[in-house]
Amino acid sequence: MTVTLAQAINRALTDAMADDDRVLVFGEDVGKLGGVFRVTDGLQTRFGRERCFDTPLAESGIIGTAIGLAMYGYRPVPEMQFDGFSYPAFEQLVSHLAKLRNRSRGTLRLPVTVRIPYGGGIGAVEHHSESPETYWVHTAGLTVVTPGTPEDGYALTREAIASDDPVILLEPKRRYWMKADIELPATAPPHTEAVVRRPGEDVTIVCYGPMVRTALEAAEAAEQEGWSLEVLDLRSLSPMDTGSIVASVQRTGRAVVVHEASRTLGMGAEVAARVQEAAFYHLEAPVLRATGFDTPYPPAKLEGYWLPDVDRILDLVERSLAY
C-alpha cells in the first residue's frame, strides 16, 4: 500500500501504544489537534486523554516531566513541535536525559523517545527549519536516529520506543509527504547499521534524513555524466556506523557528505575525520562536504540557494573526481 513518512510514523506510534500501555505521547497540540503535522492524529481518540495529551507551552517542562515519567516506569514519547523549539529544553536534554543513566551507574533507565520534526525546505518562517543534530550527537549519552524513507519512519520509531535508552528521533519534515509502496508493519535493519540505498563505484555519498532522497536524485543525474555514486544512508547519527562508511570508501576511494546543517562541525566534519583516520591510504581525494552554509537559516524564498541540492552534490562529486 502507499504510505507517506508521516503515516508510517503515525502507525508506528499507534502500534507501540497498542502493544504497551506504558507508552505515552504528549507535547504541544499533539492531542486534540493531532499535531501540527498530524503525525499524532487519532492517538487521543483511540487511546484516551491519559495516554495522549496536550501539555502547557513549555519545552523544558515537556522533557523534564518525560524524565520523571520514565523514572516512574512509563515510556514517554514527547514531541518538540519544531526543531528550533527544542532549544528551551536543552538543559533537560543535555544535563539530565543524556546523563542520568550514567550518573546513576546504570540504575536509572530512561526509555524516552524525543520526536523532533527537523530541517528545511518547507518554506517556513524562522526557527522552523533548523537542523540541530550536531547538538545532540556531540552530547554523550544520546542515541540520535533519522529516517530517510517511510519504512525507516516506521521501523526506527518502533525501535526507539522499544529501546531503554533515550533516543532523539529526528523526523525530516519536508519528507513527511514522501510516499513508498510498502506493507506495515515494516521491518528494517537495526539503527546501528547504515544502509546502501544505491550501490556505486566512483564516489560514496554519505547522507541521512531529508538528504537521502536528494542524494538518490543526484546519483540518478550523475549516471548521465557517467559517474557511479554509492548512496549510503546513515540512519543513526549516534552511534554512527563508521564501519560501513569506511568499507564503502575503501572501495570508491572518495566520499562526499551531504547534510542541511551548517558545515562547521556538522556531521560532515565527523565523517571526514573518521574516514581519513580509518581509510587514510584508500582515499584518492579529501572527503568533501555538500552542506548548508555557516549562516543562520535563510528566509524561505532563499532557502533553495542555501540548502544542498543535486547541483551542489554533483559539483563536489566532480571536484572529488578531479583529484
Binding site: E28, P56, G121, M178, P299, K301, L302, Y305, D311
Partner: protein
C-alpha cells in the same frame, strides 16, 4: 536581615495591592455604553477616540488582506489578529513616542499604531527576508517567534533605560500560552527586582494553537501570576478599547514614574485560526465562535462613537476607503515581491568580515553563475531552486 529571620515578620510589600480585582476592568459594555471607573480614567480626546477606531479598522482590513495574500500563495503563513484589534491598538496607544514595543508575531495592531509599514512585517511571512523594518525608527522591535523570549529583551531594554535615567517604558506582548514558558517568568523576576519600567501585556485570546486556557494553567487568572513577582496584576476586557487603554496607561505611567513593572491580562478571543496553516474546526465549535463574535471590539467602539456622535457615515466611509488603500499598498508591496540577492545571506552574520564566510559566499557566487550560464535566455532570477516541500 531582621533579628529573627524565621519569625513571623511584617512583610515589606502588601500583597493585597498586587492582586487583580475580582472582575476585569470594563468601561464599555458590548452595546457601546460607557461606564466610568475613577480608578481608570480615560485620558483621551474625542479625536483620539476616533483615531483609535480608525487604527482598528485599518488593522482589520490589512489583516484580511494578509490572509488573502496567503491564500493566493503570496505568503507562506500568516498569524491573524482578528478580534484582538482593541487589545493591541488601545494598549499601544497608551505609550508615548519614546516608548518601545516588543511584539510577538501577531501584533499587527500595535504595528499600525507605531506606523510600521505592514508590508515590511509581511516580508517575514512571505520569506523575502527575516525582517524588513528598522526597529529604532519605530521603536518597534522585530517580531519574535520563539514564544515568550522577547519578554527578556523588553526587560533588559527597560533596565537600560532606567540605568540611563531615560524616562522610557517598554511594553511586551505575549499570549496566554506564553505565560507557561520559563522566559516570561524570568523576565518578571528580573523586572520586579531591578524595577525595570516594563509592562507585561498578555493577550489572553483563550488558545495556544489548539490548547485552551484551562489546559494551559490552573491559575485563577493570568493576572494572578503578578503577585509572585511583586508586580501589580491588572485585568481588563481586551475587547474594550477604553478599558484596555486606561489600564495600560496607568501601568505605563506608574512604570515611567519609577514605581516598577506591571502585568496586564487582556481578555480577548482569537477569531481566526492560529495561523493560516491551522484547522481550528478540530478543537473549537461554531457556537463558541459565534458567541465570541458578539464581543467584537470594533463593533463595540463604533457603537460607542455613534452614541456620542463622534462618528458619522462619511467618516466611517473614509476610514473604510483608507483601509482599502492601505490594504492595496500592502498587496502591491508584497505581491510577487522578488527575493533579494542570495549573496546577502553572508552580509549580516557578523559585523566583522570573516574569511570563512567570504569563502562560502564565493562558493555560492560560483553556483549562481553556473546556474545563470545553464539558464541562458531566461530573464531575471528564477524561483529559488530546491525549495518547497519537494517530496
Amino acid at each position: 536581615m531582621g533579628e529573627d529571620v524565621t519569625a513571623p515578620a511584617a512583610d515589606a510589600r502588601d500583597p493585597a495591592s498586587l492582586l487583580p480585582p475580582d472582575e476585569p476592568v470594563r468601561l464599555l459594555s458590548p452595546d457601546g455604553t460607557f461606564h466610568a471607573d475613577a480608578a481608570y480614567p480615560v485620558a483621551l480626546s474625542d479625536a483620539e477616540l476616533v483615531a483609535i477606531h480608525r487604527a482598528m479598522v485599518i488593522t482589520r482590513r490589512v489583516d484580511r488582506e494578509a490572509i488573502n495574500l496567503q491564500r493566493q500563495g503570496q505568503l507562506g503563513v500568516y498569524a491573524s489578529c482578528l478580534g484582538q484589534e482593541a487589545a493591541q491598538v488601545a494598549s499601544a496607544w497608551a505609550l508615548d513616542a519614546q516608548d518601545w514595543v516588543f511584539p510577538s508575531y501577531r501584533e499587527l495592531g500595535a504595528a499600525v499604531v507605531r506606523e510600521v509599514d505592514p508590508a515590511d512585517l509581511l516580508h517575514l511571512f512571505r520569506g523575502t527576508w527575516l525582517s524588513n523594518h528598522d526597529p529604532y525608527e519605530h521603536r518597534f522591535a522585530l517580531l519574535s517567534i520563539p514564544i515568550g523570549t522577547q519578554a527578556l529583551h523588553a526587560t533588559g531594554f527597560a533596565m537600560g533605560a532606567r540605568l540611563d535615567a531615560n524616562p522610557l517604558v517598554t511594553i511586551v506582548y505575549f499570549g496566554d500560552g506564553g505565560t507557561s514558558e520559563g522566559d516570561p517568568h524570568e523576565a518578571m523576576t528580573f523586572a520586579g527586582v531591578l524595577r525595570a519600567p516594563v509592562v507585561f501585556f498578555v493577550q489572553n485570546n483563550q488558545y495556544a494553537i489548539s490548547v485552551p486556557l484551562d489546559q494551559q494553567t490552573a491559575a485563577p487568572t493570568l493576572a494572578h501570576k503578578a503577585v509572585g513577582y511583586g508586580l501589580p496584576g491588572y485585568r481588563c476586557d481586551g475587547n474594550d478599547p477604553l478599558a484596555t487603554f486606561a489600564v495600560t496607561r496607568r501601568a505605563v505611567e506608574d512604570a515611567r514614574a519609577g514605581h516598577g513593572p506591571a502585568l496586564i491580562e487582556a481578555l480577548t478571543y482569537r477569531m481566526e485560526a492560529h495561523t493560516t496553516s491551522d484547522d481550528p474546526t478540530r478543537y473549537r465549535t461554531q457556537e463558541e465562535l459565534e458567541a465570541a463574535a458578539r464581543t467584537d471590539p470594533i463593533a463595540r467602539m463604533r457603537n460607542h462613537l455613534r452614541q456620542r456622535d463622534l462618528l458619522d457615515d462619511a467618516t466611517e466611509a473614509g476610514f473604510e476607503q483608507e483601509a482599502d488603500e492601505r490594504a492595496r499598498a500592502v498587496r502591491d508591496a508584497i505581491y510577487d515581491a522578488p527575493h533579494g540577492d542570495p549573496l546577502e545571506l553572508f552580509d549580516h552574520v557578523t559585523l566583522a568580515d570573516r574569511a570563512d564566510l567570504a569563502a562560502q559566499r564565493e562558493e555560492l557566487r560560483a553556483e549562481l553563475a553556473a546556474r545563470v550560464a545553464g539558464q541562458e535566455g531566461d530573464d531575471g532570477p528564477g524561483p529559488a531552486p530546491g525549495a518547497g516541500g519537494d517530496a
